[in-house]
């Protein structure tokens, strides 16, 4: 029976550690469903699809690093950016995932909303967590 006492002690210590993580806010509460806004997609789901990545961050941020094969999309230069995107999408129609810098940057949701109007047949999402989610 001594082995069961060992298992019990090990599991108890692990549970205490997990409670410590929750108490200090190191870990999110697992029983709280993470919120996903309409039109958002999580990184793990986007990675499972063959998608067109659309980077809406400033050009210097794009040049210093971006998701492989991502297209730069300048919202201020909408028409030419849209033409570039349409070229990629028409040659091989795939879901489009728009991202900006972080969870709360807002640009990706705004651009995704505008693109749904411009490309009504396309499947368009904004990436939850943005570039930060990818970089982490």
């Amino acid at each position: 029976m001594a082995i069961f006492r060992e298992f019990f002690l090990i599991l108890l210590l692990s549970a205490v550690g997990a409670a410590f993580s929750l108490y200090h806010g190191w870990a999110p509460l697992p029983w709280v469903e993470p919120k996903l806004a309409a039109g958002e997609i999580r990184l793990v789901d986007a990675q499972a699809l063959d998608v067109i990545w659309l980077d809406t961050r400033p050009v210097d941020a794009f040049e210093s690093g971006h998701i492989p094969d991502a297209l730069f999309f300048d919202e201020a230069d909408w028409d030419s950016s849209l033409m570039g995107l349409m070229g990629a999408w028409l040659s091989e129609p795939r879901p489009i995932v728009v991202y900006c810098g972080s969870e709360n940057c807002g640009t990706s949701q705004r651009v995704a909303g505008r693109l749904r109007g411009a490309l009504p047949d396309a499947e368009i999402y904004s990436l939850k967590g943005g570039w930060d989610a990818w970089a982490n």
């Binding site: 090990i10 210590l13 550690g17 993580s21 870990a27 793990v44 982490n136």
Partner: protein, 154 residues
């Protein structure tokens, strides 16, 4: 101080290697459980909430068994759990490899390259063999082996 045989040296080295591996695996994941949860989700076996539970508990279990492997009173239980964890990891990596998943292991926290399955499986098989050798050695040398177990002095 008595001299250690070459077998005893090997067991000590294996015990330290296993303990260090588990501690180095656990600490980054305790610090960033969300990144670890994302890696777990990549295996496509549990949902978001399930992966958050695993990411919350598993690193602490690794930490406890990693340290416990060096504590005579609980090292047998820790050794058995480590062997079971390694078997689980080997099964998970084999499953992901067969399904052609392109994932990061998440074994030592974030920032890892995409998984090299052959290397991951061979590494865990090596650790499992070392763990089994340590368990066999401990079984043959039961002094102060486990909690409240009366072992006659040899």
């Amino acid at each position: 101080m008595g001299q250690l045989s070459s077998k005893a040296y090997f067991v000590l080295l294996a015990r330290l290697l296993l303990s260090a591996t588990l501690l180095f695996a656990a600490l980054p994941k305790i610090g960033d459980p969300v990144a670890f949860a994302t890696s777990i989700e990549g295996f496509r076996l549990v949902g978001r909430q399930g992966s958050l539970w695993v990411a919350l508990v598993l690193p602490w279990l690794e930490l406890v068994v990693g340290m416990g492997l060096l504590i005579p009173q609980i090292r047998r239980g820790c050794g058995i759990l480590i062997a079971l964890l390694l078997l689980l990891f080997i099964g998970l990596h084999t499953s992901a490899w067969m399904r052609g998943l392109d994932i990061s292991c998440g074994c030592f926290g974030q920032g890892e390259e995409p998984a090299n399955y052959l290397w991951l499986i061979l590494r865990n098989v090596g650790l499992l063999i070392a763990m089994i050798a340590v368990l066999i050695h401990d079984g043959r040398n039961p002094q102060r082996r486990c909690l409240k177990e009366d072992v006659p002095a040899s």
